[in-house]
Symmetry: D2
């Protein structure tokens, strides 16, 4: 950490900061410029450093962090790629994995039918929501445990592992009985109680970036899970909120290579939420693969115009099949398989 | 709801939409322009309308909502101001209420000391976090139930009601035993499980706007609480995330008058998080009162540079006292008391 | 346009709106719902419609546009792709074009050297700034007309057409004497005086999206150029400003397919500004091509660490050569050449 | 400036950076931490420092600026408030000034009528656009020089100085013949050609913050004007673009106290553009005054529903009169006059 003193800070101010540094168990290294003094904190101490404690001292202009605030998640501390097993494949390895299925599971028959369809087209896993986070209390909230049973049955029939969202820390155990991957949704990315709970479950987790969260926030939230000894975490970029009106979200394609450089965890892209209109989903999926995504999570529905949620962004079976074929070509073009 | 057809949509497309409207139990009213046809949905039906179901149909350009999606929260359906009782006063009535206290409670003595200090300066209620949502799993997470006990003791000594955050739906009952007002923090604004739970508790709730949520999102989240029969809700504007780097958040002052116009619930402002630097907190507090806020929630700490969290934005006792005096003058200037 | 009346608007309010509609030369088509009346404006009239004129009338809840506000730029009015000639190729046709070169031209020798290098690697055109828009008045502002002369000499030597920025409406004529393509930079996207001037020049224009402008804003700015009878316009997505700190901008990859659907003009991507770090530029370039971009504009410098501007995001020759090879593979994978 | 080396940067990397520092004429001060080395640049040199030159060197993690990049605009270099004369008052002194008038001047009679009305209500100056920056080339673009003549006539009749926008660097001289204050609009905040030109004119300038510009950007743009020897600059906060849909812009009220702390220039607020709806303009105006604004610029129109532009956000005469009365009370409450 570096403490930048104000132009004209007094000797007294500087020595107070130095005193505080020593109190916290670090060494203070002073650099005296023409205009201001800069104090570097060197050494190690059991006392965690709090920027606020320094920035609110007299004569301090500002405080700058030098190290990233995440450790277990960081590639600095864990240079090799982490692979997360999924259906005999490894997220984070060469093959681009595809998780596909409906936004919400709507019936037993339909869940099984979609599972068969996406499997045939080459999907690695089945997604489907049983508990739905809906902006309105009056919207369809999902079929709950019944929906999880349909998903489990679809897995039996197709062999596809199940990716489904959990929202309630109290239900992590129950959802984990049915699901292979616990999804933490964008709205819960900083639900720290939930993060710790899915961490403790030691289950595989798909962690979505919140719609106004930075990459650093996302990595910090992953740290909550890894801090519980659970390394089976896949990160997911699904678009952030901006002022743009022609799309549902703004897909932060930069996040794919930048996250890959900063963390060892696999990075998955969600082109459906990213753009919000089915006619553009494939373009965004191709872009994500070209940029280095380790996988995709895509919404598929047999009749999008009749879906109970997210119909506008769901591919139908034909659209999904075509996307899968095109994904293969782009994956090969960047030295990967799909 | 209004369905706008594409330029050149076929008669078949139009009649499919009309068919769907009738299937959903509404009447379709067609307006044929020079370039396109517009279909209005009229009447009432038990089937809730889903925009996606229409926007994904062939020939549809887009779908526009006409009514607001919230009901119980809306001033249209409930024109009179709702007053929420707090320490013998009413949030939403003439008096501007002030909730003050530390970011987190740090010790029994300190909690009581701060409570006495803010009471003396004229605060209506005591804030203080026992469960802290921290971006980092390694940051101080609060003293938990022990902290709640300190707060309860401070209430006994001062008579100030307690405002404290609850993050875990499973702990709502426990927190409600100690607290007078349950705070739902910005990061949990769309934690729908938690919202329903605090709704069911029938306890007073302070609901903070999420840092990338629109006013409509906030009103929809309030609707989750009101839908449980709990009208004792105060909304709180605390700043949103933008690209600005000189402040912690961007305080959306517009939200004060606009929310007051759209909902009957009281609107509280949090100038501490809004700007993030103690030297500017009073200016923002004055602005909020001038714009019509029903109350303030402000961080106060005896020695901000030693606070375990949010020291940079905490007022010390002197600063708080001066703020209270200035607030009174501005409140009077806009026809209110403080 | 559609005027939505408030719940409980009076008959008088409704008839005033209808009167205004007729005064403006349109026909009013009323839809009376259970709760509110909706008034559609039908027909054609020489009077342009102003939303504000209606939204400020008594009893009006809000006014919604149905048609897009751009005409010449819109694919609705011009369904076929527009091709813009560049060095014997056509931007907007099958081949993905690459414009490459330094942020600013720094010397005669260097300009020629870079031109040769990017040509050899397969570039279609040479970029290079002679007039630089710099945030600071103390930063290097470019070599001005001297720089343009170096660029012209580089064109003579390599045959590469020149893309360079013009900032001053008074200098459009002079810059057009040297340049093949006039670039309007992000900061000038809504400099309407400049837009009209480059339109009148009938020169080819590369129009960059502003960092806080919507796609609609960009299309409206293009409309300024097309309204002068100049259709030779290429749009450029270069990233928008968000709260993200790990990258210079947030590249809006969604804009590639969405703009292509809404306009007939070619769409170019600028991966250098989009991400701001050279190690990630190729990933973003590949993503843009996969998403359907018609071309790229990329910063290349022989020794980025010594560049007078934008060194951090410039590829060196090796990096550029490798990018070009990888671009070809991805272009082929999506059915295009490069 | 501080250069932070990567964890594990080689001795060679470090010595290259030190070499570069010395080449640039500064002294390098090394701080060796447990994990990384930090290099401070000390001393003075005629060579301006370019962050990119260092951040693109091998082994460099990142480069952090310590000083603000603006000088003449900064309060550090000019601690006393600058006062800008306006109609016998001083912007930046105790009195809160009010600039009022129509968005665009629409006729000679109307301009004079409005000038009389706002003067009677207590305005300090008359605003009115003759050259209008419009998103659409088909919208009303203003009456040009004719409009300026009407404004000049209104000044003769009322004594109110004229504030009007200039968009074209080539017309600065002409506009300055009629206007007392040259307004640089939000869309032109980074039109550096225009900034230099209004700087050279030595005329008083009102510089509006761009809708996606940071406060630092705004201060840098002011620096362009001051660098021409022209200190008569007023800054104007008018709202930034966010994802919020219920308002036209998001007014950054934080900017009022933060800018006042960082610069000696007066800060004006534009509540009309800030919120975009006339019924909320007064609330925002009061908030701005409470937060410490030195003045307001407000749109006023006799019949807003018939205005040629911005009718939805214009106050009518009654609304303006009431605002003026309320402003006085709030100004007094914060120790100022109005």
């Amino acid at each position: 950490m570096i403490v930048v003193m104000k132009k004209g800070a007094s000797a007294q101010d500087i020595s107070s900061v130095v005193g505080r540094v020593e109190l916290d168990g670090y060494k203070a290294s002073l650099t005296e410029g023409e205009e201001r003094t800069i104090i570097g904190l060197v050494g190690e101490s059991p006392t965690p450093l709090r920027e606020d404690n320094y920035s609110s001292m007299s004569g301090v202009e500002r405080v700058m962090r030098v190290s990233v605030p995440y450790k277990l998640t960081s590639r600095e501390y864990h240079p090799m790629d982490t692979h997360v097993a999924l259906n005999g494949s490894q997220a984070g390895a060469n093959k681009v994995l595809v998780i596909a299925g409906p936004c919400s599971v709507e019936s037993r028959e339909q869940t099984i039918e979609i599972a068969c369809a996406v499997k045939e087209a080459g999907a690695t896993a089945l997604r489907g929501g049983a508990f739905k986070p809906r902006t309105s209390p009056y919207s369809f909230q999902g079929h709950g445990e019944t929906g999880l049973k349909w998903l489990a049955e679809a897995r039996e029939r197709t062999g596809l592992p199940i990716v489904t969202e959990v929202m309630d820390p109290g239900l992590v155990g129950m959802v984990a009985e049915y699901a292979d991957v616990l999804q933490v949704g964008a709205r819960n990315m900083q639900n720290f109680v939930l993060l710790s709970e899915v961490g403790r479950s030691q289950h595989t987790v798909l962690l979505k970036r919140g719609m106004a969260n930075t990459m650093e926030d996302l990595l910090m939230s992953a740290e909550y899970i890894l801090a519980q000894g659970n390394q089976r975490v896949m990160l997911c970029e699904r678009g952030i909120r901006t002022f743009e009106k022609y799309t549902r979200n703004t897909f932060d394609i930069n996040a794919i290579p930048v996250l890959k450089a900063r963390t060892h965890l696999p990075v998955i892209a969600d082109p459906s939420h990213a753009v919000g209109y089915s006619e553009h989903v494939t373009s965004i999926a191709l872009a994500a693969v070209a940029a280095g995504a380790d996988g995709l999570i895509v919404e598929v529905h047999p009749t999008p115009e009749r879906a109970l949620s997210d119909g506008r962004q769901s591919l139908n079976y034909d659209g999904f099949k075509q996307m899968m074929q095109r994904i293969q070509l782009v994956a090969q073009a960047v030295g990967r398989s799909a």
